[in-house]
Symmetry: C2
């Protein structure tokens, strides 16, 4: 039922102790008891999110272990960012086919480096043998009632996105052999795919300002659809105005649009804000050190309308990335 | 890189909506936004635990889906029980090779039935395609400072265990073809393996009474070793006094001892309490409706001593179940 363990391998408890027991400062009790203990400060709520990463779907076998550790936490921190929550702590459950010390050393280094950067403590978890699987549950703190939601966009609001879109998808297509890029350009987009920077500071800066927010993990159109449906609104997007890297800008218009609109794995924030708050949004972006671009508006009329730089309608059949479909779903 | 999806399959968001969106009452925000929101009540702490279940290690392919759903949550609730925490909420991350509606319907029915029984809400999670993997993170509430720990047993304390031990391991050995049992006896021990009852009420009743506690998931000796090491104490166990079912009592003494001491998957509580509190412990057990048996004592002298019903030493080389070793580790 299971492969034999290497004779000299570390056991489960040894490897938890060796790789996953950093000192705990904020939680009352961390790795090593049945439960970790955590309290929310008075007047705050804990924002909680779980993401599971599976080889071949969320990362490739070619990823360096430290980048895998980074990304596993980054995609969870991105969910906190989308809620405007400040990271506090996380748990890690990890299935490994065998005890691979090179993988574990790299994975924990990348994971814990990003955790330190965001002052987010590893407080517990589980390790087991099985097909490679990383499941992280992350905890953030947000003032009660201040969390950014998907369901509160209002007609007339401006629509924004942080950073640039599409590079992670471009890197994936290079790995798939569908696009060729020079080495330095490939390195740049590969970093976007493997080392996403969760927009935590931006999410916090947008509290009280953004009227809705979500992180772009399944592609802009798919994640925007969650805002549209959750808020009962429509949206108009300026396709030519979507922010993109110089590398992406070198592709054909058709590929650019596909990767920008339905790329996946971007981990940028898409959010709405009142038109009168345009200056405040740009000030928040400067505070967070992340560029944000106005990309459209929220409409009362349901549905999604894509327009080009001249305001002309753009035909589309772009979908979102869905972990249970092989083809993209219609937007 | 991945198998094609069945043409008419549900997508990721459809199946979340269909199977995993019960109404949320306690959390401020549940399944369907980037994060769930939860606050700890004043004067309380959140106890948090994550467990990952992998086919072939934590369950067999023969398990009925509703029992798998039950067990996935039960093993997590058992960690809360070991801390004396009252269940509040949980997140579910689920990887499935394909959208198997029969499995999902049964799994969610068993999962949510146990959740209702313990008033524990599903507040968020993730679904993806991949080798079958269930990762649950559970949240419980405990008065600040009242959590039962592994690290606080004291020399002279009595040692107890709840329920009976060894039946789950016996069922596994029947599946493995190493032991034969009549059908009705097999059904009984198979229930112990597939439908463990987390000792939540007992854990809560033991607050302020047990001086240490842990749940028996990797075998009595292995989990008792965590108490011994965490508390810097030793222990003496009466092997003949360990509580066992009539079915287990029908095996050879050697097999009984192996399954009682190093069986695994018991999900009973082993805990210590002051000798003067023996009556209070039994009263707590009656309140919780779970029998508890005194099985030994905590010693100042490090190490583990096994004795038989006459107080004579029992030679042993029993280990604990370790998810990264093929053979048991020495106790």
């Amino acid at each position: 039922m299971e492969p034999p363990a290497p004779a000299a391998s570390l056991g489960e408890f040894d490897l938890i102790a060796k790789y996953f027991t950093p000192p705990v400062r904020r939680a009352a009790l961390g790795v090593g008891d049945d439960c970790a203990l955590l309290a929310s400060a008075p007047g705050t709520q804990l924002a909680i999110s779980s993401d599971m990463l599976v080889e071949g779907r969320h990362f490739l076998s070619t990823v360096a272990p430290d980048r895998l550790g980074h990304k596993a936490l980054a995609v969870n921190l991105s969910d906190l960012a989308a809620c405007g929550a400040r990271p506090v702590a996380f748990t890690l459950a990890l299935a490994l086919p065998f005890v691979d010390e090179a993988l574990l050393a790299g994975f924990s280094a990348g994971l814990l480096a990003l955790a330190r950067e965001h002052d987010c403590e590893l407080i517990g978890g589980d390790t087991t043998r099985g097909p490679l699987n990383v499941c992280i549950t992350v905890f953030g703190e947000v003032p009660a009632g201040a969390a950014l939601l998907r369901s509160t966009a209002r007609p007339g609001d401006d629509l924004y996105v942080s950073g640039t879109l599409g590079d992670a998808r471009l890197a994936l297509e290079v790995f798939r052999g569908n696009v060729a890029l020079p080495g330095t350009e490939f390195d740049a987009v590969r970093r976007a795919m493997e080392l996403p920077a969760p927009r935590v500071a931006l999410g916090i800066a947008l509290r009280g300002l953004a009227t809705s927010a979500i992180d772009v993990s399944d592609g802009l159109l798919g994640d925007l659809a969650h805002i549209r449906r959750g808020s009962g609104v429509g949206a108009t997007l300026d396709v030519d105005g979507l922010p993109r890297s110089a590398v992406l800008g070198g592709l054909s218009v058709a590929l650019q649009r596909e990767y920008l609109l339905a790329g996946g794995d971007d981990y940028e924030l898409v959010f709405s804000a009142a038109a009168r708050d345009a200056d405040a949004v740009q000030a928040a972006a400067r505070t967070a050190g992340v560029p944000v671009t106005r990309i459209g508006r929220i409409d009362a009329e349901p549905g999604l309308r894509l327009v080009d730089g001249h305001g002309q309608p753009v035909e589309h059949r772009y979908g979102s990335f869905d972990h249970f479909r092989s083809a993209a779903a219609p937007a």
